[in-house]
């Protein structure tokens, strides 16, 4: 039903190129990249390939650290977190697709610190849509968007790997669950 809506959204592939450009030259060798499931992992995979770092890619599913577990329980299919390198004293770039309230990032930081004590932790997001509820700020961002609280922005990935952003009324998305 939202098919005819004039999309205010930028092209995800262009944002990806912009994000890679920002980060390239700004990271030390040995920096670890950790994507947050699901969309953040897609972005992190692309970053990891483009930056050519020798440290393997890490992934985090924050389901066990969410602050709304008591209200909502475990949602959907929890995927195993996998950080295949020692985080102690290592610089880390946490990667998410859409940065919003900051609660996901808080949960990811809590989980990350259960793996050890990292050095500098930076945040990269394809899109910052505003609406922060916690003191969280990204170091690297593809684009900033102004989006109403009634709408949800999400990243989708085609079978061929191409990514695109979509926007839907919040009620429609929550109703489906």
């Amino acid at each position: 039903m939202a098919a005819n809506r004039k999309s205010p959204l930028p092209d995800a592939e262009q944002l990806m190129t912009a994000l890679i450009k920002q980060i390239k030259g700004n990271i030390k060798p040995g920096t670890g990249i950790i994507g947050i499931f699901t969309g953040g992992v897609w972005v992190a995979e692309r970053l990891h390939a483009a930056l050519g770092t020798e440290v393997p890619l890490g992934t985090i599913d924050i389901a066990f650290y969410r602050d709304d577990y008591v209200r909502r329980g475990l949602q959907g299919n929890v995927k195993p977190s996998d950080i295949p390198f020692d985080v102690n004293d290592r610089d880390i770039i946490l990667v998410d697709d859409v940065l919003y309230t900051g609660r996901t990032i808080r949960a990811a930081l809590n989980e990350l610190f259960d793996y050890g004590r990292p050095g500098c932790v930076m945040l990269a997001a394809l899109v910052d849509r505003g609406g922060r509820q916690l003191p969280v700020a990204p170091q690297f961002v593809g684009a900033e968007l102004k989006v109403s609280d009634d709408e949800l922005v999400s990243l989708e990935r085609e079978p061929d790997g191409a990514m695109q952003l979509s926007i839907k009324p919040r009620a429609e998305v929550i109703g489906k669950k």
Binding site: F64, Y65, G73, P80, Y115, G116
Partner: protein, 318 residues
């Protein structure tokens, strides 16, 4: 009124009482969640904050060290507070009823009961009488069910064999008295395992087995032929003294898992046992410690599976 008390009106799992009645998609979501907890238990800090502030009461009316310990570890790794009660030695011997014991503990703001009882149906009775925000896990009731054991068994099978379809699984031993076997059979058939076989002497076979969709064998070498998974059951010593079995030696000769008997199974067949094992009674040491044994990984997976069950149940509180 006949509704399964473990599933609420929205189809969510609110208690875990038996595998019977749990739909396939819930079983799969427990297994998927457990896989994520395996990676938690491999970390430096083996703890997540999900059940912080919750109180889990281990209510053991029947002695058990291993099961109680794995539940305790699972709850602690979810950051819950755990209270262990060996009820057999306290209130019950003073004459308090089961439901009075539970009502008293509920008044102490329990959030979850893990119940082991020698009477079949004890966990169901408790689940039917607690407040809606309290969850009950059956940790073994009489000869009825032991659902978390069955869940960790199917988790182990999935870990090594990936898919359930096409598998041949044999369960060997005292099927008659085994709550583990009953739960395993329900789990395996729900998940679409092609062939579930049970192998036992006639005196240790229940009468209604054909209704459960299993094949019955009295002979080990026939029953084990080409199987992918062998699940050995513990032979309880007290069964030896009755009329059911002549002697431990005789049992081992016919039903003990030896390398020779295992040789007729698939070469990559895995050997499982819920523990504690009786070496030289139902299983030969060279098999128990051999290449195909996954008995110790079962114990490790058991913690992740119990963490998954607890976190799914506690997440359904409103």
């Amino acid at each position: 009124m006949n509704r399964d008390p473990q599933i609420d009106s929205n189809g969510k799992l609110v208690h875990l009482l038996s595998i019977e009645g749990i739909p396939r998609d819930i079983l799969i979501s427990i297994l998927d969640t457990a896989r994520s907890f395996v990676s938690v238990t491999e970390r430096e800090i083996k703890k997540v904050p999900l059940l912080r502030g919750k109180s889990v009461f281990n209510l053991f009316f029947e002695p058990s060290t291993r099961t109680r310990t794995t539940f305790e570890i699972a709850a602690k790794r979810l950051s819950a507070d755990v209270i262990n009660l060996n009820v057999g030695s306290s209130s019950q011997s003073k004459g308090e009823t089961l439901l009075d014991t539970v009502a008293n503990l509920s008044a102490m703001h329990a959030d979850m009961f893990v119940v082991r009882h020698s009477q079949s149906g004890a966990a169901n009775l408790i689940a039917s009488n607690v407040a809606p925000n309290i969850h009950v896990i059956n940790a073994g009731d009489g000869s009825h069910a032991h659902p978390t054991q069955a869940l960790l068994d199917i988790f182990t099978i999935r870990h090594y064999k990936k898919e359930f379809a096409g598998l041949r699984v044999a369960i060997v031993g005292d099927i008659l008295h085994s709550r583990v076997a009953r739960s395993q059979i329900h789990a395996l058939t729900t998940l679409g395992v092609s062939e579930v076989r049970v192998i036992a002497p006639a005196t240790l076979l229940p009468s209604h087995l054909s209704q459960l969709g299993v094949q019955v064998f009295r002979n080990m070498t026939e029953g084990l032929r080409d199987v992918d998974v062998v699940i050995m059951l513990r032979l309880q010593n007290e069964r030896m003294n009755g009329d059911l079995l002549p002697s431990a030696q005789e049992y081992f000769k016919n039903y003990g898992l030896t390398p020779e008997k295992l040789a007729v199974a698939d070469p990559d067949a895995i050997v499982m046992h819920p523990g504690p094992m009786n070496r030289g009674v139902e299983i030969d040491s060279s098999v128990a410690d051999g290449r195909q044994s996954v008995i110790l990984p079962q114990v490790t997976f058991g913690i992740a599976v119990r963490m998954a069950v607890m976190s799914i149940l506690a997440g359904q509180s409103q």
